[in-house]
Symmetry: C2
Subunit: 454 residues, 2 copies
């Protein structure tokens, strides 16, 4: 008899919450985005709820109008390291760009976070859309979508080779003989690819998880291909059960098609849970938040995303009919399509669309009681649409506290979620094995020529 399938839950943490107006609530600390104590507190709440992991989105650019909502974020590997010291079990997932980093540096940093956290590090691989980020790195425009994804796949391959460059038993530490490491078990990787040439070895011993967990969140065709080949967890955004189920089946099939076990990739749609003691109370909270959105900010961003002028988007009319197709978009393709389809399907005015996006940024918003939220989660989980959820509280810390204290117990009572941690690593929480090194048992050439040691 097999173990019953259970949910995986990640908490998506974002200053005062997902809702763009959350910072305006009386309870919110508007400068929480620079305060490590705020994030340590959130992580401890998530750990109290036995969640698998916490996660920070990221991009190397100042996003959005600075008037609109808290802008600027601490670099995620730094922030998660600070959180590691304030927690014991919960997984720590940082976003980092393959377009604007070097594989040696990033592989090393994630290996270091994995050591510092005792095996709790995860890396959400992003390719970083948009010309604004490019201009922070001496490039006038972003590389083409396909090129960014090719680079990402090779980047992950290089990182994994570097993580394998030390055997697990490479350190012999023989004090009597004066031999610290076994040079036969530490090797160069000599990677020569289209985007990278990297010699190695990494300058960090193999980390507790072997490989930090690889997470991916792009849902374009290229994004799904990359996920099928490389990802172990996927964050995704869907508004309907049918869409989520189609995505789930597609990605599991793509994963099997490249020879991987589909169980080895966990699919977590996002949900923005707006929780009230009654459904009416939840809807009231949602409405109060939406009423705090200033539409002039949001309309400008929407116009930019849709590649039209703001004046072509009157607030009380639907989107214009003649928008570009996804093929013409070089940026965040899946996000673009999701927004346009949402607006068309529900015949939303620009003002209504802005409310929906301001609340969940394209993710599914669900307002209801704790029982109803648990029902919504279970429906997708049982319905072949999810292995778990990316929980995106609209307001922090209160929305996370409510989820942990009210929704998690319902899920536990239904046998859908763990009552205690049964593992101490991020891979363990997601039910994934620690990978063996690809090089284990292969004698390495002697590395005597590396480095100058004085």
């Amino acid at each position: 008899m097999s173990t019953p399938r259970t949910l995986h839950l990640n908490a998506f943490l974002m200053s005062t919450g997902q809702h763009e107006a959350s910072w305006r609530l009386p309870e919110s600390d508007p400068i929480a985005n620079t305060k490590v104590e705020h994030y340590q507190r959130l992580a401890r709440i998530a750990e109290r709820g036995k969640l698998d992991s916490i996660f920070f989105a990221d991009s190397p650019v100042l996003f959005g109008e600075v008037g609109r909502r808290p802008a600027g974020k601490l670099e995620p590997t730094v922030l998660l390291t600070a959180i590691a010291g304030a927690t014991e079990k919960i997984g720590l997932i940082a976003t980092a760009s393959t377009t604007y980093n070097e594989p040696f540096n990033l592989a090393r940093r994630f290996a270091s976070v994995d050591w510092v956290s005792g095996g709790r590090a995860g890396w959400n691989v992003v390719t970083t859309a948009g010309p604004d980020a490019a201009r922070n790195f001496g490039v006038d425009d972003q590389p083409a979508h396909a090129v960014r994804y090719q680079r990402a796949a090779e980047f992950i391959e290089v990182a994994r080779k570097l993580w394998d460059s030390w055997d697990d038993d490479a350190i012999v530490a023989d004090k009597a003989e004066g031999v610290w490491g076994d040079a036969g078990r530490i090797r160069t990787i000599d990677h020569e690819g289209k985007h990278f040439r990297v010699r190695g070895p990494l300058n960090v011993p193999r980390s507790p998880q072997g490989h930090p967990l690889i997470v991916q969140a792009g849902s374009s065709e290229s994004g799904k291909d990359l996920a099928a080949r490389c990802a172990e967890a996927v964050f995704t955004a869907h508004q309907t059960l049918a869409d989520a189920r189609a995505f789930y089946a597609d990605l599991k099939a793509r994963t099997a098609a490249v020879g991987r076990d589909p169980e080895g990739i966990k699919i977590l749609p996002g949900i923005v849970p707006v929780i009230g003691a009654t459904e009416a109370e939840a809807l009231k909270l949602e409405r109060e938040l939406d009423e705090l959105i200033k539409p002039e900010y949001a309309r400008e961003q929407l116009a930019k995303t849709l590649r039209v002028a703001p004046e072509d988007l009157p607030l009380d009319r639907q989107l214009p009919a003649d928008l570009p197709s996804e093929d013409e978009i070089e940026g965040a393709k899946s996000r673009y399509t999701l927004i346009v389809e949402l607006a068309r399907r529900e015949q939303l005015t620009v003002r209504q669309l802005i409310g929906r996006l301001g609340g969940g940024r394209g993710h599914r918003t669900f307002a209801g009681t704790a029982e109803q939220v648990a029902d919504a989660i279970q429906e997708w989980f049982d319905g072949g649409a999810a292995d778990g959820f990316n929980i995106m509280p609209p307001v922090l810390p209160s929305g996370l506290e409510t989820f942990v204290d009210q929704v998690v117990p319902v899920l536990q009572d239904r046998g859908l979620f763990r009552r205690e941690y049964t593992a101490s690593t991020l891979r363990g929480h997601y039910g994934l094995e620690r990978p063996a090194s690809r090089y284990a048992g292969i004698e390495a050439p002697q590395l005597t020529s590396i480095g100058s040691g004085f």
Copy 2:
């Protein structure tokens, strides 16, 4: 009447200690290099001694023969972030390369560490010598020495502009009006230089110190020029008072020559204190450590540094007469010259030279009682050779504990060192001001076109 001049002390932390054989002692944990608890313990010892800062050297390459001594290190900004949570006052200085990083990423990471630590971040700027590091970044050989230093100067300039891109009062957080940041006080930097084009702004609000402290350690001509223009603290290596005094006078003069206050740059030579209850005991400890060195490892490294074959360095003869001049060295120029001059001046055999380098890696080793170590420190401090010292314990944690518990009280009793912290930031410990933003008071152009915020 002016305040009496007092010492600045930094602890240079390196796995089991500076001495290459320290890991072989019974007391040493040979795998301490991956253990955050080890470094947190060391930092707390240093903080108990009221030291200004701790420091990690670094290079993006696996150094040295792995058999010889603990190899591989956690990435320093990650490690220092973990230490920040275990300490309250002590400054945290991480080495990072300007040759193998992008300014936007690194400026952001140091600003993040500054936030997480409450204003205790420092950056030791290095240009990373050697072809082995280059080969981890797709480059066959290191860029020329002069080019690396030009890039470093521009890199620091870009970082400082990014750190200034938010005014200190850019966040207004007006909940009632729904205005979070003032776009007139956050600006692009639009840097266009020889090595970098960076638009900005940084995606982190201005950090507690404004600018993390800039440290520099290269002592070549290019290194001294860079330090004079940019550095606020300098780590340096000298074997004699005369050499240290000449360096001190030269660097202070260069700093004045570029229009900076020479008080604004603190010069800290390295010292490896081998401390015993008696002088004889200290010398015995030093001898025991040196006897644990395996000369075959060290000779190979020395040969590489000197650009000769290992068989040209018989262990019991002096260095060959026909070595290259510093001008021919593209790597760590000042390190090369220091080694050759040390060997020639003291007429050391290769075996003796290896002992000296294994103990202090070119830095001054001083064996004696706590009083004698304090005398050695005071002699250079009073003699115009130092503003303080970079303390490099040969064995960790014991060598740091002995220094803190025995030497520091002597220095305190002589009025040369603080008894309590009088500041809470790294700049404060070093007696340096928090810099104003270069842009403060200048109205920024509106940033409405940056980013896509959904």
